[in-house]
């Protein structure tokens, strides 16, 4: 069958014989506007009621700066820990067989399913100075609950599934022949892991760590119980937003929220770029 090239006109939608575009597209746009776009517009616009100066002042008070710093710093460290341990866990689940593997695999998703407030009080009970693990550490002079270490622990908990779940499918697909070829050519086990497997899983590892990071920056429920919530010491940015709201400082709360959102998108953008770069290099 030959096709006759028609003069191409610009159009925003390709024609289709399937019914329902108008209805579904209209509904989706309306729904997104009502429940996502208008609310977000409020977040983006309201901080500027204070003017550029006022906005800047709100997010650069020592208290706000230290809260933002704490949230981003602990989220970053938690993402790194989850990247390493998530890769190891995914490796164990994909490459080996052991009894109870299916149950273990299902339990990886528990932090997704367990309500954050429940995780928060449970972690606090464990790591408080009189808790089963907290007591050991307390005896050697290390406090976990009510310090940034406790915050870090809660963030490691909520971020655990992200890296495992993004690395797992890639690890299953790593071309076994390439690995065998490397082995035949005399590559040592560590050379094989570093030169064959790591490059293959690195993009997925970065995207998983990025998701864990984004989740951790905004995490609230599992953190506030264990954090201690001391201003300038263990107060996270989401909690500061709640406190500003309770004092009816709407613009201030929105300013901190906007700064948080902007910063985390910036970091995700960089990680996305890194991932694209690695994927492109991998294809060459």
């Amino acid at each position: 069958m030959t096709s006759i090239p028609l003069p191409r006109r610009w159009r925003w939608k390709e024609p289709s014989v399937l019914p329902g575009f108008g209805l579904t597209f209209g509904f989706v746009v309306l729904y997104l506007s009502l429940f996502l776009l208008i609310p977000l517009a409020a977040l983006i616009v309201r901080p500027w009621e204070l003017g550029l100066d006022g906005f800047w002042r709100q997010i650069t008070t020592p208290r706000a700066l230290s809260a933002l710093q704490l949230s981003f710093y602990t989220a970053g460290v938690a993402a790194l820990i989850n990247a390493v341990m998530g890769l190891l866990l995914a490796w164990a689940l994909v490459r080996y067989d052991f009894p109870g593997k299916r149950i273990i695999d299902a339990l990886v998703d528990l932090p997704f399913a367990l309500p954050t407030a429940v995780a928060g009080i449970a972690l606090t009970a464990i790591y408080a100075p009189n808790g089963p693990i907290g007591a050991w550490f307390n005896d050697v002079g290390i406090r976990i609950a009510y310090t940034p270490i406790g915050i870090l622990l809660a963030l490691v908990f909520v971020g655990l599934p992200f890296v495992v779940r993004s690395v797992q499918p890639v690890l299953e697909d790593v071309d076994h022949e390439v690995e065998e070829a490397a082995e035949t050519l005399g590559a040592s086990p560590f050379q094989r892991a570093r030169l064959v497997i790591l490059p293959a899983v690195l993009p997925a590892l970065i995207s998983g760590a990025g998701l864990a990071f984004a989740r951790a920056v905004g995490e609230y429920g599992s953190v506030i119980f264990i954090a201690g919530n001391m201003p300038l010491k263990s107060e996270i940015a989401p909690l500061l937003i709640v406190i500003q709201l309770e004092q009816f400082n709407y613009a201030g709360a929105a300013a901190i929220g906007l700064a948080m959102l902007g910063l985390s998108f910036l970091i995700l953008l960089v990680m996305n770029g890194l991932q694209t770069l690695l994927l492109r290099r991998g294809r060459k």
Partner: protein, 280 residues
């Protein structure tokens, strides 16, 4: 299940499995066990006492109500979004898909904050709401709005990759044979995606019932009126009623375990009918 592959690092197996399992036990299982241990610290009686309170039952009812409104709405949205995104080519599709996923990268606290900025006492729409005599913040409406925003992507995200992968061939054939829109949807699309839909609804529901940050901002913590189950746990905990807090938390932990169980069953039994990323 595929045959187990030989690891390139031979002899490391027990070491890697050991560390992995130990990590999972400390980070994930220990907190779960702690919930039940603390709940029964004062025996079965102490545990049951937590459910003697009318406030606890009000919280259960409210949690069910909020989920019963927000989950079906987001399921409907997910179906419409998946149909629209996977069955047509149009400009701005990538933007639309990004927007659908956006709530996942927003802090729950911000998902609550935005509603206060709109409808709170100093919100954009406060004069209008005052004139009409409607309240949204510190009411069930506010809880529903916050929950919808937080759980918006769950169903769409399961359906979009699956419907993309299935393609439109069957639906196109049905159109050629003269089927109407409703027949196409109910006889072809819905049966094709039913397990993925259930999977998405399951995850959406778990999050809706367990959400804490977003609802905490809009709730006002009014006992018996705007207190969902997770908020009830917080109140009891802050009043040093630890056994009560953990006993209430076991209900939520039970919900999480049931969710995981059904999720795993779906992954094992209906792997071919879920999006590829969900097959294990």
């Amino acid at each position: 299940m595929s045959a187990v592959r030989r690891s390139p690092v031979r002899g490391a197996a027990p070491f890697i499995i050991g560390i992995g399992l130990l990590w999972l036990a400390v980070i994930v299982l220990l907190p779960l066990g702690m919930v039940f241990a603390e709940a029964f610290r004062k025996g079965v009686e102490g545990f049951l006492k937590a459910f003697d309170e009318p406030d606890a039952w009000a919280a259960v009812r409210l949690t069910l109500l909020v989920a019963a409104i927000s989950v079906p709405l987001n399921a409907l949205f997910g179906l419409a979004a998946a149909w629209c995104v996977t069955r047509y080519e149009f400009r701005g599709k990538a933007l639309l898909t990004t927007l659908i996923d956006l709530p996942f990268s927003i802090s729950p606290v911000i998902s609550g904050l935005v509603w206060v900025l709109l409808f709170g006492s100093a919100g954009w729409f406060a004069p209008l709401l005052d004139a009409l005599g409607i309240r949204i913040i510190f009411t069930v409406t506010g809880l529903v709005l916050a929950t919808i925003l937080v759980t918006l992507p769950f169903v769409a995200r399961e359906l979009i990759p699956l419907m993309q992968q299935q393609g439109a061939d069957e639906e196109l054939a049905a159109v050629t044979l003269g089927a109407g829109p409703w027949a196409i949807f109910s006889k072809i699309t819905l049966p094709n995606v039913r397990w993925a839909l259930l999977y998405g609804v399951l995850l959406c529901n778990a999050r809706a019932m367990g959400e804490f940050g977003a609802v905490s901002v809009v709730s006002g913590h009014i006992r018996g009126l705007t207190n969902t189950l997770p908020l009830h746990v917080e109140i009891l905990y802050n009043e040093y009623d630890f056994v009560g807090a953990f006993a209430t938390a076991t209900v939520l932990a039970g919900l999480a375990l049931i969710t995981l169980l059904i999720k795993s069953l779906l992954e094992w039994r209906f792997a071919d009918e879920l999006a590829a990323t969900r097959r294990h």
